[in-house]
C-alpha cells in the first residue's frame, strides 16, 4: 500500500541541500563581483571626476588634464555609426518581417548572415574595416577622385566598421519591434486597400518606433565600449584638436584607457585618471543600456 507520508531518504535530501547551496553561492558571487567592480571604480574614480576632467584636453603626457577629446570622439563615433547603421538595419528588418517569404532561401541566408555576424570577434571587424573600408573603398575613392582624404583610417571608416559590427543588434531588436505589431492591424490596413508600403509606413512603423529607438540605443551602447574593432581604422593616441571633418582621426574613451594603462611614462600618476576614465566609460554604457531598458518596459506596458 502506498502513502504520501514519510520523508525522502537522507542522501537525497543532502544532495538537494547542496544543489541549492552551490546555486545560491554562485548567484551571490556574481552580484558581489559586480558590486566590488563598481565600488572600486566609483571609490577610486569619482573623486577625480570634475568639470575640468570632462572638458579639458590631456596634458603632460596623459598624467594630467582631462578626457574631453576622447569623450567627444566617442560621442561623434557612435552618432555617425547610428546614422550609418540604423537605417540599414531597420531596412533589413523590414524586409525580413514584412516582405520576405519566411521560408525562402534568400531570407534564410540573410538571417544566417545576421546570426553569424553577431558571433564574429570584434578584432576581425577591425581587420575588415582596414581591408574593406580603408584599403578598398577609401583608396578606391581617392584614386577615382584624385583626393587623398579617404585612403586612411578616420572617424568615417571607424563609424562604418562599428555600424557593421552593431548591425545584428539593430536588426534583431527592430525585427522584434515589428513583430510585436498585431497582425490584425496590418490586415485591417490592407483590407482597406492600403498597399504593403502604406501599411508599413502608416501603421507598422509608427507602432514600433519605440522598439527601433531601443535597438538603436542598444547598438550605441555596444558600439561605445568597443575598442578592438576601431583599433586600426582611425583612432589615435592623442590629438591637438577635435576632428573637424569625418575624414580626420579621433580619440576614443576605450582606446584612451588602453593608452593610459600601457603607454604612460608614469603609471602611478596616470592611475587616478585611469579609474576616472573607466568610470566615465562605464557610466556612459550603463546609461545607454538603462535608457533602452526603460523605453522597452514602457513599450511593454502600453
Amino acid at each position: 500500500m502506498s502513502t504520501f507520508t514519510g520523508h525522502q531518504s537522507y542522501p537525497k535530501r543532502l544532495l538537494g541541500f547542496f544543489a541549492v547551496l552551490v546555486a545560491a553561492t554562485a548567484a551571490t558571487a556574481i552580484v558581489l563581483l559586480l558590486l566590488s567592480l563598481f565600488g572600486t571604480f566609483i571609490y577610486k574614480g569619482a573623486p577625480h571626476i570634475s568639470w575640468e576632467f570632462l572638458s579639458q584636453f590631456p596634458q603632460n603626457n596623459n598624467t594630467e588634464g582631462g578626457i574631453w577629446p576622447a569623450l567627444a570622439g566617442t560621442t561623434l563615433l557612435v552618432l555617425l555609426m547610428s546614422i550609418l547603421g540604423v537605417p540599414i538595419g531597420t531596412a533589413t528588418a523590414i524586409y525580413l518581417t514584412e516582405y520576405a517569404r519566411q521560408t525562402s532561401v534568400f531570407a534564410r541566408s540573410v538571417r544566417f548572415a545576421v546570426n553569424t555576424l553577431a558571433g564574429v570577434p570584434s578584432i576581425v571587424f577591425g581587420l575588415f574595416g582596414v581591408g574593406f573600408f580603408v584599403q578598398f573603398l577609401g583608396k578606391g575613392i581617392d584614386t577615382a577622385t584624385g583626393s587623398s582624404m579617404f585612403g586612411d583610417g578616420s572617424l568615417l571608416w571607424a563609424s562604418a566598421t562599428l555600424a557593421v559590427l552593431t548591425l545584428p543588434v539593430v536588426i534583431v531588436s527592430v525585427e522584434e519591434a515589428l513583430k510585436a505589431v498585431p497582425r490584425d492591424l496590418r490586415e485591417g490596413s490592407l483590407a482597406l486597400g492600403a498597399t504593403r508600403w502604406q501599411t508599413i509606413w502608416k501603421i507598422v512603423l509608427p507602432n514600433s518606433v519605440t522598439g527601433i529607438l531601443t535597438g538603436s540605443i542598444l547598438a550605441v551602447g555596444r558600439g561605445a565600449g568597443e575598442v578592438a574593432a576601431i583599433l586600426f581604422v582611425g583612432v589615435v593616441y592623442s590629438t591637438e584638436s577635435l576632428p573637424g571633418s569625418v575624414t580626420e582621426k579621433f580619440m576614443h574613451l576605450g582606446y584612451h584607457l588602453y593608452v593610459l594603462a600601457t603607454q604612460s611614462p608614469d603609471v602611478e600618476k596616470a592611475l587616478p585618471l585611469q579609474y576616472a576614465t573607466t568610470l566615465v566609460l562605464l557610466g556612459l554604457t550603463f546609461l545607454l543600456n538603462f535608457t533602452a531598458i526603460y523605453i522597452r518596459s514602457r513599450l511593454r506596458k502600453s
Binding site: 517569404r101 519566411q102 521560408t103 498585431p182 490584425d184 492591424l185 490586415e187 485591417g188 490596413s189 490592407l190 483590407a191 482597406l192 486597400g193 492600403a194 498597399t195 502604406q198 502608416k202 501603421i203 509608427p206 507602432n207
Partner: protein, 255 residues
C-alpha cells in the same frame, strides 16, 4: 436558391491550398447582390478561408494557392489583370478581432479615404459623420471624434471598424465572425446594423453562432471539412435541410 437578385460573387470549382494541404474543395456558389449570406460550420471547415479568398486576404499567407475561379462582377479576382489593392478597396472587411488603429476615431475612418487621394477637410468631415451614422455609432462618439479609438468599448470598436470599412464606399462587406468577442447587447446592435446595411451592400458573414445566421441572413451555406455541403435560403437550411450532415450540425449533434 435566390434567383431574384443578380449574382455578385460566383465561385466556380474553387479550391484553396495552404502549401500541400487542401483547405477548400471545388466550391461552386452564387452569392446574390444586396443580400446577407451566412456561412456556418465547425472550426476549420473552410468558411473563413472562403471569405478571405474573395478579397484575396489569403495571399498574405505564404504558400497559398488557388484553382478554379472566384468571379466578382464578372471578373475573376485571381486573374492577372486584377490589382489586389484596388480589389480590396471595393470589398470591405470586418474581422473577428477588429482592432482599431491606435489613432483617433476620426483618423480611423479617414485612413482608407486618404490612401489614394487628397480630400478636403469638409469632405472628410461629412464622410466621417455619414459612415459613423450608418454604423450606428455617431450619437455615441460625435463629441469625442478626436479621442483615441482605443478608448471605446469592444462593441463600439467593432462598429467603428464597420464604419471604417464602409467609409471607402465598398460594394461588398465581408464579415469574419464579427460578434464572437462581443456581449449580447453589442451583438444585437451589430445584427441590427447588418439588416440595415444590406440594402446597399452585398454582405457575406461567417459565424459560429447558428441563431445569428438564422436571424440576419437571407441565404446560408454550410461548410464541412473544406466542402460546401449545402447552400440554400436560410429558412430552408434551418427547417428542412436536404443533407444529413447539415441537419446533424444545426441540431447540435456534432460540431
Amino acid at each position: 436558391m435566390s434567383k431574384d437578385n443578380t449574382t455578385k460573387i460566383r465561385a466556380k470549382a474553387f479550391s484553396v491550398f495552404y502549401g500541400q494541404k487542401q483547405a477548400l474543395y471545388d466550391i461552386n456558389l452564387d452569392l446574390p447582390e444586396q443580400r446577407v449570406t451566412a456561412f456556418i460550420g465547425p472550426s476549420g471547415c473552410g468558411k473563413s478561408t472562403f471569405l478571405r479568398a474573395i478579397n484575396r486576404m489569403n495571399d498574405l499567407i505564404d504558400g497559398t494557392s488557388v484553382t478554379g475561379s472566384m468571379v466578382v462582377d464578372g471578373i475573376d479576382v485571381y486573374s492577372r489583370e486584377v490589382d489586389v489593392v484596388t480589389l480590396r478597396r471595393r470589398i470591405g472587411m470586418v474581422f473577428q478581432k477588429s482592432i482599431p488603429f491606435p489613432k483617433s476615431i476620426y483618423e480611423n475612418i479617414t485612413y482608407g479615404l486618404t490612401l489614394t487621394e487628397r480630400r478636403s477637410k469638409s469632405e472628410l468631415d461629412s464622410i466621417v459623420e455619414e459612415s459613423l451614422k450608418r454604423a450606428a455609432l455617431w450619437n455615441e462618439v460625435k463629441d469625442r471624434l478626436h479621442h483615441s479609438a482605443l478608448s471605446l468599448s469592444g462593441g463600439q470598436q467593432q462598429r467603428l471598424c464597420i464604419a471604417r470599412a464602409i467609409a471607402v464606399n465598398p460594394e461588398i462587406l465581408l464579415m469574419d465572425e464579427p460578434c464572437s468577442a462581443l456581449d449580447p447587447i453589442s451583438t444585437g446592435k451589430i445584427e441590427e446594423l447588418i439588416g440595415e446595411l444590406k440594402s446597399q451592400y452585398t454582405i457575406v458573414l461567417v459565424t459560429h453562432n447558428m441563431q445569428q445566421a438564422a436571424r440576419v441572413s437571407d441565404l446560408t451555406g454550410f461548410f464541412l471539412m473544406g466542402n460546401l455541403i449545402e447552400f440554400d435560403r436560410t429558412r430552408t437550411i434551418f427547417t428542412s435541410p436536404t443533407k444529413k450532415e447539415t441537419e446533424d450540425y444545426i441540431t447540435g449533434r456534432f460540431g
